[in-house]
């Protein structure tokens, strides 16, 4: 992977974050924080995927840990979704922010010790969440099942994160780069969304009105926390790796402001046909379609940026993860523009179609982007010049991408079958029988996906331990051969 090596040379002085910030003697990037957030992110990725796999066995009636309350499949489903959102995605994002924000602002985060405090506090919150969920203390808010007594602590953590990273941004004068728009907005939104979703329906509102807030929370968690951090990350890493600017700054503006305006209006599309006033349901559907149009401009901008550098899809693993994620992003948003219409909702609501969509968004898009970012940054933060193995990256990528696609199509088809069978008033048991083969394929593709992440984790570990890479040995062998042949 030529680009990693090249970039390593050009950024050599920064491998250990050695460059000194404008503000004094503190290193610009607190490399250890990047490293440990990544490591914990990978750990939670493996835990939550195993939780999902365990839970999926119940669907094949072969759950191995029957009759133990602590291993109740339903409780492990909580661990699966919350582990992915707050353990994997949030951790890797935090690591990425500790790298990107100081480099773009040329100032370190507000406080070094605050960064470490947030790191330990966040892991504590995660462990407490997992234990609370496994003890049956969930809150009935999807993606926010965190037990109610942890919510205020988690919110405080998010506020501290915002303070830590907004501080250096505030010191920058003049217009901000695209990445900073997304990050800055994401810090504000995440705090607001978390407070709104976790407290209002539990303590202040009830019934259908609280349902509307729940819909906003589910949607905004993806749309206003994960999505802006993800796109901000793309606007930073894609130009750096491709070594050229984003194709159109105007389209970047359209993308950001379009997303900022339309995304928060989407939430109610999760609860169509409920007693929530119909005009609001129509409003949510229309703004969802508007988001799809905005997304098209962003995707177009990024593919025009790639134009002329298509070879990088082959040569650079991070670019490959990023652009595969973008194709999936376009797919999910395109799908979204249709599936939120009332026509599609009749059939697909409550079916596995939605589960397939959620997996493609959370893993196929943001998971892929975060994996790409880690592939790019991990050798740097681990103080290595190259990965232990490039071929393991190929295996990781191809197994993950193929099994992701298999799972997506499998669940989408299953959803259509379930929806139509329900509509035809088929007996409930016959719909279960019809779903059984799809649930088996889901578990198999999930197994492949988890296997691929273990390949990645192994590669990370070997790189961290500084094991000599196979490719490096081969390069040397080839070089010696060539030298030997040269005189002849």
């Amino acid at each position: 992977m030529a680009d990693t090596v090249e970039s390593n040379i050009s950024e050599g002085s920064n491998i250990s974050g050695a460059s000194i910030s404008k503000d004094g003697n503190r290193p610009l990037v607190e490399v250890n924080l990047v490293k440990w957030h990544f490591i914990m992110g990978i750990a939670f990725l493996l835990v939550s995927m195993l939780a999902g796999f365990l839970y999926s066995l119940q669907f094949m009636q072969i759950y191995p840990l029957k009759g133990i309350a602590f291993f109740s499949p339903g409780r492990w489903r909580f661990v699966h979704t919350n582990g992915v959102a707050y353990g994997f995605i949030a951790n890797v994002f935090l690591g990425m922010l500790h790298w990107v924000v100081p480099r773009l602002t040329l100032r370190p985060a507000a406080s070094r010790s605050l960064g470490y405090f947030i790191f330990f506090a966040w892991q504590g919150i995660l462990v407490a969440t997992v234990i609370g969920l496994l003890m049956g203390q969930a809150q009935a808010l999807e993606w926010g099942e965190t037990p109610v007594w942890i919510d205020p602590v988690a919110l405080l953590g998010l506020i501290l994160v915002a303070i830590n990273f907004i501080a250096p941004i505030m010191k920058v004068s003049g217009p901000l780069y695209v990445t900073m728009w997304y990050f800055m907005a994401a810090f504000v939104w995440t705090v607001l969304v978390y407070a709104m979703g976790n407290f209002l329906p539990e303590y202040h509102m009830n019934g259908v009105a609280a349902g509307a807030i729940g819909g906003l929370f589910i949607h905004d968690l993806v749309g206003l926390f994960v999505t802006p951090l993800g796109w901000g990350m793309m606007y930073y890493f894609v130009p750096i790796i491709l070594r050229k600017p984003i194709w159109s700054h105007g389209l970047s503006l359209v993308g950001f402001w379009g997303l900022a305006f339309f995304y928060p209006l989407n939430g109610i599309h999760h609860f169509l046909y409920t007693p929530i006033p119909m005009f609001l349901q129509y409003g949510a559907v229309i703004s969802t379609i508007a988001v799809e149009l905005v997304v098209t401009t962003v995707i177009f901008n990024f593919f025009m940026t790639l134009r002329g550098s298509g070879d990088m899809l082959r040569r650079s693993i991070p670019i490959r993860w990023f652009y595969t994620g973008m194709i999936f992003y376009f797919t999910t948003c395109f799908q979204c523009a249709f599936q939120t219409t009332l026509t599609f909702q009749q059939i697909i609501h409550f079916t596995d179609w939605v589960v397939g969509h959620a997996h493609l968004v959370m893993f196929g898009v943001f998971g892929f982007w975060l994996l790409g970012t880690m592939v790019y940054l991990l050798p740097r933060v681990l103080g290595r010049t190259r990965w232990y193995s490039e071929s393991l990256h190929e295996w990781h990528y191809w197994i993950t991408a193929i099994s992701m696609l298999v799972m997506f199509f499998d669940l989408t088809i299953a959803g259509l079958i379930q929806g139509y069978m329900w509509k035809e008033l088929a007996s409930w048991e016959s719909t279960l029988k019809a779903s059984a083969p799809f649930w088996m394929i889901r578990s198999i593709s999930g197994t492949a996906m988890i296997f691929a992440q273990f390949i990645f984790a192994y590669n990370v570990l070997m790189t961290w331990l500084g094991k000599p890479s196979k490719e490096a040995a081969m390069d040397r062998a080839v070089a010696t051969d060539e030298e030997g042949l040269a005189p002849a």
């Binding site: 504000v188 729940g214 329900w422």
Partner: protein
């Protein structure tokens, strides 16, 4: 404004979020403010204790006395609250909806379409519309099946429904195989869902006759 700190912070971050919150959150809240939230005690006073609770007390007198004391309004309320907590903690709401939609012939299968007032009570905090139907909708479950069916089903669902993918909840039972405090609570919660509708239970395609029943809903135009 478009690329400045204050523009992003105040306009995109605060204002756009605020507009969406007012339109999509505060507006439905004001619309439904006239519908006051009912407490569990209010609901019981209005609709009574479900007969299945009395049956449970008669069938397992020793256990019932130990867990809930007398069979009265207070003990029924305690059972419902406990059942609701279990329903959330065990993720029942991730595989069962509580929401009959006005489309896809759902009223033939489950019973009357969901109404806003059904969600304005303490045990819908936060609201339990549900997200996925691996198992059936439960909002019209009251009286549809017997206590005995539920006891057998919670213990080992495949004994009753061979193709069921519902987990076994053996921790709802004591060492002798009788439902324990949690078991009685979750069964009561499920037997209560939909009992506030004038006529129940509902079965596929043969709901009770009368206003609001499955047969009387005009299905034309919603397919």
């Amino acid at each position: 404004m478009l690329e400045s700190k204050s523009g992003v912070f105040f306009v995109a971050g605060l204002a756009f979020f605020g507009i969406a919150f007012i339109v999509m959150g505060a507006l439905p809240y004001t619309i439904y403010r006239g519908l006051p939230e009912e407490s569990v005690a209010d609901m019981i006073q209005e609709h009574g204790i479900v007969p299945e609770f009395v049956e449970l007390a008669e069938k397992f007198p020793t256990q019932f006395k130990e867990y809930y004391g007398e069979c009265n309004v207070e003990s029924f309320e305690a059972a419902l609250r406990r059942g609701h907590r279990i329903y959330i903690g065990e993720a029942c709401w991730h595989c069962h909806s509580q929401f009959v939609r006005p489309v896809s012939k759902e009223s033939s299968r489950w019973g009357p379409v969901a109404h806003a007032r059904e969600y304005n009570n303490e045990l819908q905090r936060p609201v339990l519309f549900g997200t996925r139907r691996v198992g059936p909708d439960l909002s019209r479950e009251a009286g549809r099946r017997s206590n005995d069916w539920h006891i057998a089903h919670f213990y080992k669902p495949t004994n009753v429904v061979p193709s069921s993918v519902m987990p076994e909840y053996s921790w709802f039972f004591d060492d002798d195989g009788y439902p324990n405090r949690d078991g009685m609570a979750i069964i009561m919660y499920v037997q209560w869902l939909g009992s506030w509708i004038d006529e129940y239970p509902y079965y596929l395609g043969e709901g009770p006759k009368g206003p609001g029943s499955a047969e009387n809903i005009d299905m034309s135009g919603v397919e």
